[in-house]
Symmetry: C2
Subunit: 391 residues, 2 copies
Amino acid sequence: MSMPLALRIAGIVLVGALASRAVAFDGTVEKKTFSMPSYVTVAGKTVPDVRVGYETYGTLNAAADNAIFVPHFFTGTSHAAGKYKPGDAAPGYWDAIIGSGKPIDTDKYFVVSADCLVNVNPRDPNVTTTGPATIDPQTGKPYGMRFPVVSYRDSVRVHKALLDSLGVKKLHAVIGASGGSIQAMEWAAVYPDFVERVVHVIGPGFEITPYVLEMVDVWTLPIRLDPRWNKGDYYGREEPVDGVAEALTIVTFTTRHYGWADKTFGYKWADATRDPAASMDNKFAISDTLDKGGAARARSADANSILYTARENQLYRLTDEEVKGMKARILFMPARSDLVFPPVLSERAAARYRAQGGVADVVVIEGEGGHLDGLLNIAPQGEAIRAFLAR
Amino acid sequence: MSMPLALRIAGIVLVGALASRAVAFDGTVEKKTFSMPSYVTVAGKTVPDVRVGYETYGTLNAAADNAIFVPHFFTGTSHAAGKYKPGDAAPGYWDAIIGSGKPIDTDKYFVVSADCLVNVNPRDPNVTTTGPATIDPQTGKPYGMRFPVVSYRDSVRVHKALLDSLGVKKLHAVIGASGGSIQAMEWAAVYPDFVERVVHVIGPGFEITPYVLEMVDVWTLPIRLDPRWNKGDYYGREEPVDGVAEALTIVTFTTRHYGWADKTFGYKWADATRDPAASMDNKFAISDTLDKGGAARARSADANSILYTARENQLYRLTDEEVKGMKARILFMPARSDLVFPPVLSERAAARYRAQGGVADVVVIEGEGGHLDGLLNIAPQGEAIRAFLAR
């Protein structure tokens, strides 16, 4: 073998390795923005200049059929995995299962996550969304409550345009938790030939339940009560941060479980020197922690966007025809202690899907963390997800 | 038999029948008031001129040992059975099981119910209570948040003084639901030789759970958010009725169950001509009904009294020694679909009580009504209560 040839071969190998190193997901994430000149909602309203943020992990293959889309939950964002920079306090919410060699293996799959329309955290610098806090180009002011009502289906249609722009020809799977599980099901209903698999984590099945329809309405009550909400017209003034903080405290309470409350807090006072029996000002640890958590989360949240996202959830209701038209294999993954979407809903939906000839599995996430086990305790079921994706 | 004798006998019979008719409970209730010149709370604060309303059904026997006390739940009152006048819209909340010939048989038992301290409905004309809405004789103004913190044990001690005043020597039973179940257990812990039986309906066992400690805190959030609450100083001004209404809406939501929401409301719009997908102003039936219910109940409720009653619940925690000192037979009666105090809590408490040599039964109220099945669906378990009282 002559030197030039050897060098040439080595060079090819080197280029290949470099190319691979350049595109494989190493845990560092870059936020990008997708934009559409305009989008017409399911209800027929036109929204100009729609923008949503997105992240990708891994590489699209030549056949463009190894993509997995990860829609986010109610208070979530498209930051599903990795870190923006090594010093970040925490990685994306599902980093335990998304990454190189992990169950949603970025060495094999091209994973995409995107911010929803009316995302509740428009002030998070890593969120890009179009919603009530967005400037209406016609008036130069935020839409406020003049923004059209949207459903999760609207987010899904915008996200489909994003995937088209990335050249994705087929979704190997859509995997989402809670509000994300709803979008995953919408994907399979609206684009039955595009979606091969759905992982429906802590979801309601094929429609929202009346109970959760009301639960999310309860979440919005403190916002509407806060006088600074001012019927949604607060931009540029004092904002209804107290109402938003209380809403987020109630979100945390309703998405947990009594087992979690026992284990995490017990009967502890917020301050060991201040007995709640002595003064109405003295609090218990659980209330103090949840109130502070709500206040902290309120900083990046927008009041109107919470109301719109609640409505997005309330409008989830696939028709019988839409369910019948679905082709995806579905993995239902409820959480044992979920008081929002209890496992029985997944069992029922799986039975219905099988009865119409569909393929459906149910794997339960064990634990006492409540609904949030689908986000925070997903790791033990990672291998079940890996196996489902390989089938 | 001479005529005079026959008449005399007839007369005796007649007098007996009249006497019986005069004292037996015919379903008509009279509200009375019990007062104490002063009461010293468990925490050592003196409250002058304490008054609580009460009702009695049936007659105390000569041995004064056939009394049954019925403490009320969080948003309840002492109106447990009967009507004040025949035209009343509804009888007391447990009229299905309290009355002549009913499981809590007023032909046999002398049933007493009394309003708690800090009862949440001081504006109900049939409620008498001492709490933050009461005029402080020292200032001539309502106490507001200057009223001392009280626990359910304080209500129980006031109610014991009431029973003493009525000549009751022994309680055949204390029977209460939810907050009333807590007081029933307090009775047995504080007066072990006075209480023979406890029926603990939809209760937590021997202590409040951290989860419900937080749940009742969540109930209070909208009140504290309402600017008209003004840190409790609102008497004689515009009152925080919106915050109270929202609090009561959340109370209803958290004390129900998804099965109830499905059956009662389904996915119905509040107005069949106003699609929630078309406008953020259009509501669903369940939200509309619960919001209106909250607003209606807010009329007789007092904001500060809700905060104090929440704290009463949070302070429920019998010591190990107190539980060990209890002598009453206990019937635990959880509701299958209770998301507040699920049946497992009753099972655990019964096991603990049996382990220390106590007598405990558990009978589950079946249904999908949630926590409120203990109030609204008690009738099917009436015979279990009757049998327990006869043992």
